[in-house]
Amino acid sequence: MGHPNSLRSILLKRIGSRALLYVILIAYAVLTIFPFLMSLISSFKSFDELYASALRLPSVWQWENYAMAWEAGEFAQYFQNSVFVTVISIVGLLVLGSMAAYALSRYEFRGRRIIQTYFLAGLVLPFRLAVIPVFILLRDLGLLDSLWGLILIYIAADLPFAIFILTNYFRTLPIEVEEAAVMDGAGPFRIYAQILVPMLRPALATVGVVVFIWVWNDTFVPLVFIQSSEKFTLMLGLTNFFGRYLRQWHYILAGSMITLMPVVICYLFASRQFIEGLTTGVRK
């Protein structure tokens, strides 16, 4: 049994379609990585080299572009601010969000559906549209031009998402563990802190990862609410930097890479967690 021709043709077909598969996949991968890689390489070129050709590699790798951008862009301070705002926003969000999700998922009470829908509404509306009253509110509270003002806004704006993901995840958690704890006489706070939070970890990771990206990458909120340059976040600093060095692309690219690096490094190291985290919500 075996016609050498058909065997070969079957093999070829196999390899052919497989090869095609890989070609397509790799082509798209190139399309998605290329802009980033390109800019990374270009950020090391000198100004003249940039203008000579976009595709060639730099002859001398100009690390000083980065030194210059870092200093002139005052990125050290902005970095600090971004980290502060992001970390505290995430922590606050996870605490408040999980608490609210616990109450909404494990307790039956009148008005529960209303409150859930109330939070859900926030998912649908883009924050930008409420900017004006929030601005006046912060002004009256004396929180304008303050990093804490930003934190409060981020927590409030991301609560709908957190609660949505967490309540959905709660539904998948077996209730037996909690019931056993109640039998043992544990109070709700104990249940929450010692039992549920550990069980919530995947969902918390999801929320944490997504919110990290949102908050770190956000430009609009700091743009409107921060005036003093020492309180700029990294993105706002980049906007400023871009305006000042408008045509000096080598610095612009270096500065852009500086703002990208934290996210990219976290992503590359923890890509599994990022991706799993973001898609957990879908699976559940």
Binding site: L50, L96, R110, Y118, V131, W249, I252, R272
Partner: protein
């Protein structure tokens, strides 16, 4: 007096709460006490989130609606003018022309992004779900990368890539086309860059959903003699329906809230000549003005624009959600 009022209102909303306020025999009211205790617990857990959300999101949205009924410029006095702003917005040719121009752009963005994310995204997810594929992890990481990069930075980087003189695109094609600036190429350019960024996320969403389809179905199909294509048609797609619907909704919300990339690539004016104007940039200009028009059309009108966008997005979303709830898939 006040105490009774408190009890009365609490009783209305939290029926169990009243019990704690009055003296009752302990054992007989064990149920009541548990209820009221429950309510107290619920409140403790719920209140912080509720408070922050209400103060910083709900209240501003409501206030925004109120502002839209005034003629406030942003400084100075604020007078109630009823629906005047809305009437102006939709009847005055200048304003309504721009609103619909921006709306049109958002709608096209939504349509094209659906093609990309559902069309291309689903295709790539299906390709990636191939069991014999090697290097899936690498592809996942690569496809997702544009999404995690800050849109503002990505915008600046793309400005460089699309630059008429030093940009890669022009170098590869040996042209010097100002992609961002020409009337006919500006919008398509921004749309494509936007879709490239967003598609990665949806590829991963789809992939996760596909991979989570229980193998029972697949094995059963194999037994029946299905090949991969039939498998996709009869199993994956139907089971993916809810995911597709959810992603449609997400796409819709994102498409009508798009701002960062448009702002970074073409500025706040929707240059050239309004060809890349979207509802959010239109809102920003109306509310916060430009160099030549320092106060825009005023914050009252700005709020009206914001509310009109919000009403539209909410209405359509609600309809969508209804649709999703009506399509369970059973076997």
């Amino acid at each position: 007096m006040a105490g009774e009022w408190c009890v009365a209102s609490l009783t209305r909303f939290f029926p169990g709460a009243a019990a704690t306020m009055t003296d009752r025999p302990a054992i007989g009211r064990w149920a009541d006490r548990v209820l009221s205790r429950k309510m107290r617990i619920v409140l403790v857990f719920l209140l912080p989130a509720l408070a922050i959300y209400t103060v910083f999101i709900a209240y501003p949205y409501i206030t925004s609606i109120i502002y839209s009924f005034t003629d406030w410029i942003g400084v100075g006095e604020r007078n109630f003018i009823g629906f005047d702003n809305y009437v102006r917005l939709f009847t005055e040719p200048r304003m309504s022309g721009r609103w619909w121009n921006a709306f049109k752009h958002n709608a096209i963005l939504f349509g094209v992004s659906m093609l990309f994310t559902v069309g291309l995204g689903l295709t790539f997810a299906l390709l990636l779900s191939n069991r014999k594929l090697k290097g899936r992890g690498f592809f996942k990481v690569a496809y997702f990368m544009p999404y995690i990069l800050p849109p503002l930075t990505a915008g600046f980087v793309w400005r460089y890539i699309l630059h008429p003189r030093i940009g890669v695109v022009n170098e590869i094609f040996r042209t010097a086309i100002p992609w961002r600036g020409k009337l006919d190429t500006a919008f398509p350019t921004v749309v494509i860059v936007w879709c490239l960024r967003v598609t990665g996320l949806y590829i991963l969403f789809f992939l996760a959903s596909i991979l989570s389809i229980s193998n029972e179905y697949r094995d059963a199909a194999r037994v029946d003699g299905c090949n991969r294509l039939k498998e996709i048609w009869y199993i994956d797609l139907p089971l993916l329906r809810p995911t597709i619907l959810m992603i449609t909704l997400l796409n819709f919300i994102n498409a009508f809230g798009a701002f960062d990339m448009f702002y970074a690539l073409t500025g706040i004016d929707g240059a050239p000549f309004g060809r890349t104007d979207v509802l959010t940039t239109f809102f920003y200009r109306t509310a916060f003005g430009t160099v030549n028009q320092p106060f825009g059309e005023g914050l009252g009108m700005g709020s009206a624009v914001a509310c009109s966008i919000a009403v539209f997005v909410i209405a359509v979303s609600l309809v969508f959600l209804r649709l999703i709830h009506r399509t369970p898939v059973e076997y």
